[in-house]
Amino acid sequence: AQSVTQPDIHITVSEGASLELRCNYSYGATPYLFWYVQSPGQGLQLLLKYFSGDTLVQGIKGFEAEFKRSQSSFNLRKPSVHWSDAAEYFCAVGLFSGTYKYIFGTGTRLKVLA
């Protein structure tokens, strides 16, 4: 069955430190891959997405993600975290199984220390 795994439920980093959030998926082909951010009191916002081409994808707010087919991973990174990045991050896959569906991971909650 298709699934998305975000192994880290909570991550705490200091402001200015680098960040990597992990995402692994299970699917027979390369799905569409997404990262969304959910800030407190706000709706989910798309950070970046990937389907084909360059495996390193740039997104908004200084985020990037790298697709690794061999590892079925799509990890999100940021070189220097800002306090405003504190939020919950969701990895998702878009696939076609009769109709178009999105499967979301359980999310990683990021805390940023001043």
């Binding site: 998305v4 975000q6 799905p31 569409y32 997404f34 969304y36 009191g41 706000q42 709706g43 989910l44 916002q45 798309l46 997405k49 389907f51 969701f90 998702a92 878009g94 696939l95 076609f96 009769g98 109709t99 178009y100 569906k101 999105y102 499967i103 979301f104 991971g105 359980t106 999310g107």
Partner: protein
């Protein structure tokens, strides 16, 4: 409006009562999704509408849940005989084209509490 709106923002109800949640998608968006987000969990797909096609109801957890959409406009999610396990945030999203690569635009959600 500029984005997806949902109403009410909060709903508290008693077990056994029916509730109706509303979603106004972005104008012109043909696809509309409903998700459920339980505390500390990811988004659980409920139902998908695409234009005038039959909706994909495969994610609805029981027959107490139903949803309607009139054309490419407002959608309502109805939960009958609510149970405490229905307590969650219900999110609506829309996108302008069918297809798994299109960005979904999310509303702020309706927080449902069943006492």
């Amino acid at each position: 409006g500029a984005g997806v709106s949902q109403s009410p923002s909060n709903k508290v109800t008693e077990k056994g009562k029916d509730v109706e949640l509303r979603c106004d998608p972005i104008s012109g968006h043909t696809a509309l999704y409903w998700y459920r987000q339980r505390l500390g969990q990811g988004l659980e797909f409920l139902i998908y509408f695409q234009g005038n096609s039959a909706p994909d109801k495969s994610g609805l957890p029981s027959d107490r849940f139903s949803a309607e959409r009139t054309g490419e406009s407002v959608s309502t999610l109805t939960i009958q005989r609510t149970q405490q396990e229905d307590s969650a945030v219900y999110l609506c999203a829309s996108s302008d084209l069918a297809g798994g690569y299109n960005e979904q635009f999310f509303g702020p959600g309706t927080r449902l509490t069943v006492l």
